[in-house]
């Protein structure tokens, strides 16, 4: 038979394993100079990403009481009402006022919660006057970008290059199955659906490299459908466009 002492060594061993696995990882293979994909919460780089971050914090502020209060009450009950010799259980089983209260108050909180997100949806959905238009096409298993206003140049399976502090409007579609274009630092995720066009916009605040990844299961190499966006100054962008045009003409 397994005694109650069985659980403790198992738990201790497991906790040790978890700790070793977590803190013993080799982080050296991540180049320090490269910005991490994980930074968007602390370092959003587009107006939409700022909005999403603030929205997330606002939801947190509203929902934390509902996250904490049931847990606190639960642990209070466990501590306070455990069976003691001679204790008699209470016999109440209804309280209409209380029930109305815990229906109405959360409902009102949800209304408060919804208003800023609705404003933000409108902001995300309203396309600004584009400075640069691009067309994004998802393909198994790479991304194809076209610049219709810049000689219709097309790049495949290489980083997207866009100018900093300009309104970029992207029309998206897919050539085969449904993909999703997601760059967390931009606060943008949009499916690319075959036979349809979807649209997003972004305006990146600073230059640099930003990472993303396909976010809709699209086949065996879904995980290898990475996104890299290189945000450069207008001059660098113009030079890059000229170079690409020459490359195109030379083909």
């Amino acid at each position: 038979m397994i005694s109650s002492r069985f659980a403790r060594p198992v738990l201790v061993a497991a906790a040790t394993l978890l700790a070793v696995a977590t803190f013993g990882q080799d982080f050296a293979n991540i180049p320090a100079s490269e910005p991490s994909i994980t930074d968007w919460m602390f370092d959003p780089v587009t107006p939409i990403a700022h909005g999403v971050r603030n929205n997330a914090l606002f939801i947190l502020a509203i929902t934390v009481p509902y996250l904490i209060l049931p847990q606190v009450l639960l642990f209070y009950c466990i501590w306070k009402f455990r069976k003691r010799p001679g204790a008699k259980p209470a016999t109440f089983h209804d309280n209409v006022q209380l029930e109305v209260l815990w229906t109405i108050v959360p409902a009102l909180s949800l209304v408060v919660l919804a208003i800023p997100s609705y404003k933000l949806i409108k902001f995300i959905e309203t396309m600004p006057e584009p400075d640069v238009r691009i067309e994004v096409t998802g393909r198994q298993f790479y991304w194809e970008y076209r610049y219709p206003d810049h000689g219709n140049i097309r790049i495949s399976d290489e980083p997207l290059v866009v100018p900093v502090r300009k309104n970029i409007v992207a029309d998206m579609t897919s050539a085969d199955v449904t993909h999703a274009w997601w760059v967390p630092a931009f606060g943008i995720k949009m499916d690319t659906v075959p036979g349809r066009y979807t649209q997003v916009w972004f305006n990146v605040e600073r230059e640099g490299w930003f990472k993303g990844q396909c976010a809709e299961l699209c086949g065996a190499l879904h995980s290898k459908m990475l996104i890299d966006v290189h945000v450069v100054s207008q001059e660098e962008f113009d030079a890059w466009i000229e170079m690409k045009k020459r490359e195109f003409a030379g083909e």
Binding site: I2, A14, T22, T178, A215, L226
Partner: protein, 547 residues
Amino acid sequence: MSILLDKPKEPEGGKSLPRFPEQPIKPYRRPNPIYNVLGSTDHKVLGLLYLALSLFMGIVGGALAGGIRAQLASHNLEVLSPELYNQFLTMHGSIMIFFVIIPALAGFGNYLVPLMIGARDMAFPRMNAFSFWILIPSAVLMFASFGVQGGAASAGWTAYPPLSLKEFSGGPGVDMWILGVHLAGVSSITGAINFIVTIMNMRAPGMNLMKMPLFCWTWLVNAWLILIGTPVLAGAVTMVLLDRGFGTNFFKPAMGGDPVLYQHLFWFYSHPAVYIMVLPGFGMISHVLAAFAHKRIFGYTGMVWAVGAIGVLGFIVWGHHMFTAGISAELRLYFSFATMVIAVPTGVKIWSWLATIWGGTLEFTTPMKFALGFISLFVIGGISGVYLANVPFDMQVHDSYFVVAHFHYVLVGGSIMSIFAGTYFWFPKMAGRKLDERMGNAVFWLFLIGMNATFLPMHLVGLQGMARRIWQYRPEYAAVNSFISLGYLLMVAAGALFVYSVIEALRRPRDCDEDPWKINDVQKSLVWTTPSPPPAYNFARIPTIGS
């Protein structure tokens, strides 16, 4: 809803109205005991078969999860090929939904509903047997597809076209998956009809609907969800089947078809399916909490209305799975609002459970521990659901590990915890012996810690931008994912110990009386007035329910 067992009144003017016999009806027993199991139409035998199937498939689905966690233990492993990885994640989802959670709840429903309402069996015992046995070819069909050319279905359990169409999923795997879903759907639908008819027509005299135990209410609502939703899923996957093999163009964009239409149809079933997988769990949790607080369920009427509201609202929120699919902003506003509304009745249930244990004398038996753990975990899953209902935030974390964390808190922290609670609670009734409490304690703590170690960090990597269903990932996420993979091992340990404790209990002699937990003085449930296990046809005389 106190239930008193009265002697039925003698008919006016004396004798000779036909009555049920005083003695239990002796069923015909075939000489070979195997036939008595395989050929049985007894709701209790079928309930146990459902639970056994669920346990077995739980081991299979858990093993598939093990393959996934091994592959993801670090960022650049090749434990599985990318093709096989996609097959594993597809089958893990499908098996856990169609062959673990839904059959487990159907098993409890089959076993307990007739006992709770004072009936001798389900309304259609043969159809009941059919509902169970059709699940076997369904499971075999799905699982056998691992052996065919091209392997099992690998388009995710959502099977979105065009990925699930012939052009991108060549072999017969997806076809077998679709036929498996059809058979599982037939099982669900016939089972649901059986539950509705049983509950509406076979309650003992005096048990009106508002005296019915809460578990029966959750199953009644659940059965309607299944009955309304499942045919739509069957239709959607049939259209995929026709597109694949018979030249139709429902979802082929090049021929004017629309892949987004499939998503609408699929989620019209598959969002209610979330409630199908958790509503009966709500019912079981209510019973366990009330039993071991030695109180009656708080706010019974409110609970019934909340279950009904969740059932109705569950059908009008499917679009929140499609916030990034390019549907219009107006639709997104509507679905966002409707989804948030569901938090209200769900909250009513959480508060009512807390009020149920408030002021009680809590006995920390294993089922009670699982029920209390359920509350804690389900609150987390519910709150992250409110996050996901917000369109801007959802568009950031949609199809990321944040979503994976959310639905595993609901389905593992909610459904599986409630199934554990129900198993430990009613096992003495079903088997005549209690499961070992000390091992139960270890199972609970291993599972609770393992569950949190596995799924809590998924919120983090999801927020950090890790997409779901990926075979390898950027090295930034490696540390957290190693931790998650080790958390999985704790859940495996809990599962193994649970299986061992079931075997250990079944090797002991039966020793339970009618009310082994000593709770029925307050609960007054018919279940705990029958012997453990109950005889064939349950009640020597159909009980009458007093006021």
